[in-house]
C-alpha cells in the first residue's frame, strides 16, 4: 500500500536548529573536554613503520610492493605516511603490546579509505551500491591495501581482475558456450562496483550501455537507423533496453543462444 509521504515543515527545521545551537553553546561554555569521536587513540603519537614491523613484519614487508607504497615520500614532512596513514598514530598500540582497542581498524569501516578516496564515499552513498556504508561489506574484501595491487589481480599477477567479482558472483563466472566478449574487458565495462545512480550498478541504464560497443555504421549518416549486429534496431529499442525479456537477456554469456538469450 503506497501512501503519500509527508515532509518536514519549516518549523521543524527552525525549532531543531535553535535547539541544536542552544545545546551547543551551553556545552562549549560549561564543559572543558575535547571531543574526538571514537575510535579515539588517546594521547597517541606517530611511531613510524619500523615500529609496526616489530610485530607485523610480513605486512610491512609486503607494503613496500603495494600500490599505496608509491605514495611514500622521503623527508620529515611525510613521516606519518605508511601504516599510520590508515591505522592512526600507533604509540599507544605499541605501548600496550597490541590490542584491538588501541589502533584504528580500517577493515571494519571505510572511513580510513575515504579520507583520500573522497569520490568513493559519494559513490557508495548512491542508491545502487555494494553495502559498504551499512557495514555488511568492507573495502578490503575487494582491495588489498597491504600487498600488491590495490585492485587485485590483472597484469602480471597470476589471477585476473574478474576473479575478484566472480568469487561471490559465481553465476556470472562461466564458462559459457557462447561468451559475451565484454567479459574479457572486465566487469567494470558495464558496472561500477562502488555504486551508480542506476539499478544493478550499471554505468548506463539504457541501450547506450550496449551501443557503445555494438553500434555500426549506417548506409547513410542520419538515415534514422540504429544498426547493431547487422540489423536495424530502431523499432526494437522502443521496447526498452537491449537486455529485456525476449531480447539479449543473457548479458554475461549464454549456453543456448549465440545472440545471448536465456
Amino acid at each position: 500500500m503506497i501512501t503519500k509521504p509527508r515532509s518536514w515543515s519549516k518549523n521543524t527545521f527552525l525549532f531543531g536548529g535553535v535547539s541544536l545551537w542552544a545545546v551547543l553553546l551551553i556545552s562549549c561554555t560549561m564543559v572543558d573536554r575535547a571531543i574526538v569521536a571514537p575510535p579515539h587513540i588517546a594521547g597517541a603519537s606517530f611511531v613510524g613503520d619500523k615500529e609496526c614491523a616489530q610485530c607485523h613484519e610480513e605486512t610491512v614487508k609486503g607494503f613496500e610492493h603495494s600500490t599505496h607504497a608509491k605514495l611514500k615520500v622521503q623527508g620529515e614532512n611525510a613521516k606519518g605516511l605508511g601504516c599510520e596513514s590508515c591505522h592512526g598514530p600507533g604509540s599507544t598500540h605499541v605501548q600496550a603490546g597490541g590490542g584491538m582497542g588501541s589502533i584504528v581498524n580500517p577493515g571494519k569501516s571505510p572511513e580510513a579509505c575515504f579520507q583520500c578516496h573522497l569520490d568513493k564515499r559519494g559513490e557508495f552513498s548512491l542508491p545502487n551500491s555494494h553495502p559498504v556504508m551499512s557495514g555488511k561489506m568492507t573495502c578490503t574484501e575487494c582491495h588489498d591495501p597491504h600487498k600488491g595491487k590495490a585492485i587485485k589481480g590483472g597484469a602480471g599477477h597470476l589471477t585476473s581482475e574478474k576473479e575478484t567479482c566472480t568469487e561471490c558472483h559465481t553465476a556470472q563466472k562461466g564458462p559459457f558456450v557462447f561468451e559475451h566478449n565484454a567479459m574479457r574487458e572486465g566487469c567494470t565495462t558495464c558496472h561500477n562496483p562502488h555504486g551508480t545512480v542506476n539499478q544493478k550498478m550499471l554505468v548506463q541504464r539504457d541501450s547506450n550501455l550496449c551501443l557503445k560497443c555494438h553500434l555500426q555504421h549506417p548506409a547513410v549518416d542520419g538515415n534514422a537507423t540504429i544498426i547493431a549486429g547487422g540489423e536495424d534496431h530502431r523499432t526494437r529499442m522502443q521496447n526498452g533496453t537491449c537486455w529485456v525479456s525476449g531480447c539479449h537477456e543473457a548479458v554475461h554469456g549464454s549456453n543456448v543462444s549465440k545472440p545471448l538469450r536465456y
Binding site: 509521504p5 594521547g43 603519537s45 599510520e84 571494519k108 564515499r121 556504508m133 564458462p175 542520419g222 549456453n255
Partner: protein, 743 residues
C-alpha cells in the same frame, strides 16, 4: 543514504576527522587538547545490545532496498568483541553480532599460539533487499511492479582454517569455506505489456492493439553454493620462500528467472485473426520461467617462489594450473492460453514459442543438458630492483594458456494452435550448440618509482595484454560443425603520477592514465566476402586524478579530489570494409560508437572550531554523459534514444559536540539528488534517472558508568524517485537505542 549507515557508523565518520588530520600534519600527535579524561575511549572487550524501530510511510520495499534494513527494524547484539591472553602463550579472540530482523549474523573465533599455529572459524550471514520494480511510462503512468515487492537474498559464509607455524619448519594451512546466496532478487530483464497507451510504431500490422513495451517487473530465485578446500605449504629456504597450494572448488547453482509477458491480457478470437498464431503475433498473457543449473568442479595447483638475490634485488615466479568441468541443465517453458473458436473458449498451450517458423529462438525449450571442460595454465616471472635508494623498478611477465570446450543439446518447443479448431500441432525440434575457445595471453608489466626529489615521489606503470586466440562456435546445429574465428586482443594501460608534500600543511597528488584497447574478430564462415564477420572494436580512454589536502588553519582541513575521464570507442573494419547484402547499411565501416566524458569533484572539510565541537562536511558532484547514436541516428531514429546522463550530487554534514562531562551529541544530514530523467522520448522508455533523498539524525551518547555506554538516535528519511513515477517514494521515522557494556 541508508539507515544502518546513519545509525551505526557515524562514529566511523567522525573517526575520519582524526585520520584526515593525521595525514596532513603527519609529524604532529593526536593528543586531545583536553584537561579532562575522554570518557569515550574505545574498550578492548565489550558487548553492544541495540534495537531500531523503522516507521515507514510509502513504499516499504524501496525503503528496505535503499537502506539495507528491514521495514520494521531490527534488534539484538550489534557488536561483541573479546580478546584474552591465556596460559602457555595462547591467545583467544572472538567477535560477532546477531541482529534479528535484518538477518545479520556473525560468529567468529580465533585461537592462536605464537610460533605454534592458530585455528580460525566463523559463520557470517547478511541480507540484501530489492524492491521488485519494472519500468515506468509517464505518458499514461504505466507501472507494473511485482505483486510481492518484498524481495531479499541472504548471503552466508562458513569457514574454518587451521595453521601450523612451528619455527624453522614449513608453515601448513588448511582452509575450508562454504558460501551460499539464497533468496529472491529483482531483475532488469523486464517483460512485455501492451498497456502503455502508446500507438503502434512498427510495421507489424498483426498487432491491433497498442505497441508492446517491456516494463513488466521480473525476478530471480537464487540457490547458489560455493565450497572451497585449500591446502597450503610455505617454507623459507635461506633467502628463498616457496609456497605451494592445492585448491578444490565446487559451485552448485540453480537459478530461476521468472518471465511474465502481457500480464492480464488476452487477444480476442475471431475477426481477421490468422489460422495460426505465431510467437511474434501473440499478446496473450505468457507465464514462464527459465531455470539454469550449473555444477562446476575445479582443481587448482599453485606454486609461487620469491628469492632475495641481494639487498636490492628480489625475484619471483609462479605457476598455476586449473582444470575444471561444468555440467549444465535447464529448461525454459513458456505457457499461454490462446482463444479458439469463440472468445469464451481458450486452449492452453503448455509450451509456446518458436524457432522453426522464424520466432526468436529460443522462445521455449526443455531437456537442456551439456557441459564444459576448461584448462588454464598461467605462469609469471618478475624481478623487483632497487637501482639506487630512490629508484625502484618492478617488472613482470605473465603468460596464460586457456582452453575451453563446451557443448550442449536441447529441444526447442514449437506448438502451433489452429484458432478455429483448437488443434495443436507439435513442431518441436532438437538442436545442439558447441564452442571451443583457445587463448594464449602475453602480458608484460613495468612499474617505476622515484623518490629522489625532496618531498616528491613520482611513479609510472605500463602493462600490455596481447592475446591471440580462436573462438569456434556451432549454433543450433545437428552436426556441431564449428565455425572458426580468430580473436585478437591488444590492451595497453599506462599511468604516471606524482605526490608532493612540501610542508606539513599540504599534500598534493596528480595521476594521469591512458588506456588503448583493440579487440579484433575475424570469422571465416565461408569464402564469400559477405559471409565474413570481421570487425575491430577499439576504445581509448584517458583521464586525470587530482587530490589536494590543505590544512588551512590548525583546526581546519580541506581535502579536494577531482577525477576526469574522457574516452571514445569505435567499431571498424578489418582491412577493406565488407559491404552487406542489404542496402540499408554498410557493414563494418569504421564508426565512432561512443563519446563519453565524466567529471567528479569531491570535497571534505574537517573543522574543529572549538575543542568541544567537530564538524565534517562532504560534497560530491558528478557530471557524466555518454553519446552513442543520438543525435546522429537522425529522423525517427532519435525518437528512441537519448544520451546516457548520470549526473548527480550528494552531500553529508556531521556535527559532534560535548554536552557535559559524560555526554556527547551528534547531528548528521545527508542529501542526494539526480536530475537526469528525460521523459520526452515518449515512444520509448524514459532515459536517465531522477531522484531526491535526504536523511537527518540526531544522536546522544552518554557514559552511564565507567563501563556502560548508552546511545539514542532518532532520524527522518525521505526518498522521492522520478524514475519510477513516484511509485517508490517513502518517508520514514527511525529510532535507535543501544547499550554497550565493557568487560
Amino acid at each position: 543514504m541508508n539507515t544502518q549507515m546513519i545509525l551505526r557508523s557515524s562514529s566511523g565518520l567522525a573517526a575520519s576527522t582524526l585520520l584526515a588530520l593525521t595525514s596532513v600534519h603527519a609529524a604532529d600527535t593526536a593528543k586531545p587538547a583536553s584537561s579532562e579524561k575522554d570518557p569515550f575511549a574505545p574498550a578492548e572487550n565489550y558487548i553492544t545490545i541495540s534495537g531500531q524501530y523503522n516507521g515507514v510511510s510509502g513504499d516499504e520495499a524501496a525503503f528496505q532496498a535503499k537502506n539495507w534494513t528491514a521495514k520494521n527494524g531490527f534488534g539484538g547484539i550489534e557488536d561483541f568483541r573479546f580478546g584474552k591472553s591465556l596460559k602457555h602463550d595462547f591467545e583467544i579472540k572472538a567477535d560477532g553480532h546477531a541482529l534479528v530482523g535484518n538477518a545479520d549474523y556473525l560468529a567468529h573465533i580465533n585461537v592462536s599460539k605464537n610460533e605454534f599455529g592458530s585455528v580460525d572459524a566463523g559463520y557470517s550471514r547478511f541480507r540484501t533487499y530489492y524492491d521488485g520494480i519494472g519500468g515506468f511510462f509517464p505518458s499514461n503512468k504505466a507501472w507494473f511492479p511485482l505483486v510481492n515487492q518484498d524481495l531479499h537474498v541472504d548471503r552466508s559464509k562458513l569457514w574454518a582454517q587451521a595453521s601450523l607455524t612451528l619455527p624453522n619448519l614449513p608453515t601448513l594451512t588448511v582452509r575450508y569455506t562454504h558460501e551460499t546466496r539464497d533468496g529472491t532478487k529483482d531483475s532488469t530483464i523486464w517483460g512485455d505489456t501492451s498497456n502503455t497507451g502508446i500507438p503502434i510504431s512498427s510495421v507489424n500490422a498483426n498487432n491491433p492493439v497498442a505497441a508492446n513495451r517491456k516494463i513488466i517487473a521480473s525476478y530471480i530465485d537464487l540457490d547458489e553454493k560455493r565450497q572451497t578446500l585449500e591446502g597450503t605449504i610455505k617454507h623459507t629456504f635461506g633467502k628463498t620462500t616457496v609456497q605451494g597450494s592445492v585448491i578444490g572448488e565446487t559451485i552448485d547453482n540453480v537459478d530461476t528467472r521468472y518471465l511474465n509477458k502481457y500480464p492480464g491480457e488476452a487477444r480476442p478470437a475471431g475477426g481477421a485473426a490468422p489460422a495460426f498464431w505465431l510467437w511474434s503475433q501473440g499478446s496473450n498473457a505468457i507465464n514462464g520461467y527459465h531455470t539454469q543449473g550449473v555444477k562446476t568442479n575445479a582443481l587448482t595447483f599453485l606454486v609461487k617462489a620469491e628469492t632475495v638475490l641481494s639487498d636490492d634485488i628480489t625475484a619471483f615466479a609462479g605457476v598455476s594450473y586449473q582444470h575444471s568441468t561444468t555440467d549444465f541443465t535447464g529448461s525454459r517453458p513458456l505457457t499461454t492460453s490462446i482463444a479458439v473458436g469463440t472468445i469464451a473458449s481458450y486452449s492452453v498451450v503448455q509450451q509456446y514459442g518458436g524457432y522453426a517458423t522464424g520466432g526468436r529462438a529460443p522462445g521455449s525449450y526443455q531437456d537442456f543438458t551439456g557441459g564444459s571442460r576448461s584448462k588454464r595454465l598461467t605462469a609469471n616471472v618478475g624481478v623487483d630492483v632497487k637501482v639506487v635508494d630512490t629508484l625502484f623498478i618492478e617488472t613482470a611477465l605473465k603468460v596464460e594458456d586457456l582452453y575451453t570446450q563446451s557443448d550442449d543439446a536441447l529441444t526447442y518447443n514449437q506448438y502451433l494452435v489452429n484458432q478455429t479448431t483448437g488443434v495443436v500441432t507439435n513442431n518441436s525440434l532438437g538442436y545442439s550448440n558447441a564452442s571451443k575457445i583457445t587463448e594464449l595471453a602475453w602480458i608484460p608489466e613495468l612499474s617505476v618509482r622515484y623518490t629522489g626529489m625532496k618531498d616528491v615521489s613520482m611513479y609510472g606503470s605500463a602493462d600490455y595484454r596481447h592475446v591471440p586466440g580462436t573462438e569456434n562456435t556451432a549454433y543450433r546445429t545437428s552436426t556441431n560443425l564449428l565455425t572458426n574465428a580468430d580473436v585478437t586482443e591488444n590492451h595497453g594501460n599506462y599511468t604516471v603520477g606524482a605526490n608532493w608534500i612540501p610542508n606539513s600543511n599540504f599534500t598534493g597528488r596528480i595521476e594521469t592514465f591512458y588506456k588503448n584497447h583493440r579487440n579484433s574478430f575475424n570469422a571465416n564462415v565461408s569464402t564469400a566476402p559477405t559471409d565474413k564477420s570481421q570487425f575491430i572494436l577499439g576504445s581509448r580512454y584517458s583521464g586525470t586524478r587530482l587530490s589536494a589536502t590543505v590544512k588551512i588553519l590548525p583546526t581546519l582541513t580541506s581535502t579536494t579530489r577531482y577525477v576526469y575521464q574522457a574516452g571514445k570507442m569505435d567499431l571498424g573494419a578489418v582491412g577493406t570494409p565488407v559491404v552487406a547484402a542489404t542496402s540499408s547499411f554498410t557493414r563494418y565501416a569504421s564508426y565512432e560508437t561512443a563519446d563519453s566524458i565524466s567529471r567528479q569533484i569531491s570535497e571534505t572539510i574537517d573543522w574543529t572550531p572549538v575543542k568541544q565541537v567537530y564538524l565534517q562536511a562532504n560534497l560530491n558532484i558528478a557530471f557524466d554523459t555518454m553519446q552513442t547514436a543520438y543525435p546522429k541516428a537522425g529522423g525517427r531514429g532519435n525518437d528512441v534514444i537519448r544520451n546516457a546522463d548520470n549526473n548527480y550530487w550528494n552531500a553529508s554534514l556531521l556535527i559532534g559536540f560535548v554536552v557535559d562531562k559524560v555526554t556527547n551529541a551528534e547531528f548528521q544530514y545527508t542529501h542526494y539528488r539526480a536530475d537526469n530523467f528525460k521523459s520526452e522520448t515518449w515512444i520509448t522508455q524514459p532515459y536517465g534517472a531522477g531522484a531526491k533523498n535526504y536523511t537527518a539524525t540526531v544522536a546522544v551518547k552518554r557514559k552511564l558508568t565507567d563501563k556502560l555506554l548508552a546511545e539514542l538516535k532518532v532520524g527522518y528519511l525521505s526518498s522521492r524517485n522520478d524514475t519510477s513515477g513516484g511509485n517508490t517514494d517513502y518517508t520514514a521515522r527511525v529510532a535507535y537505542v543501544s547499550l554497550q557494556q565493557a568487560f
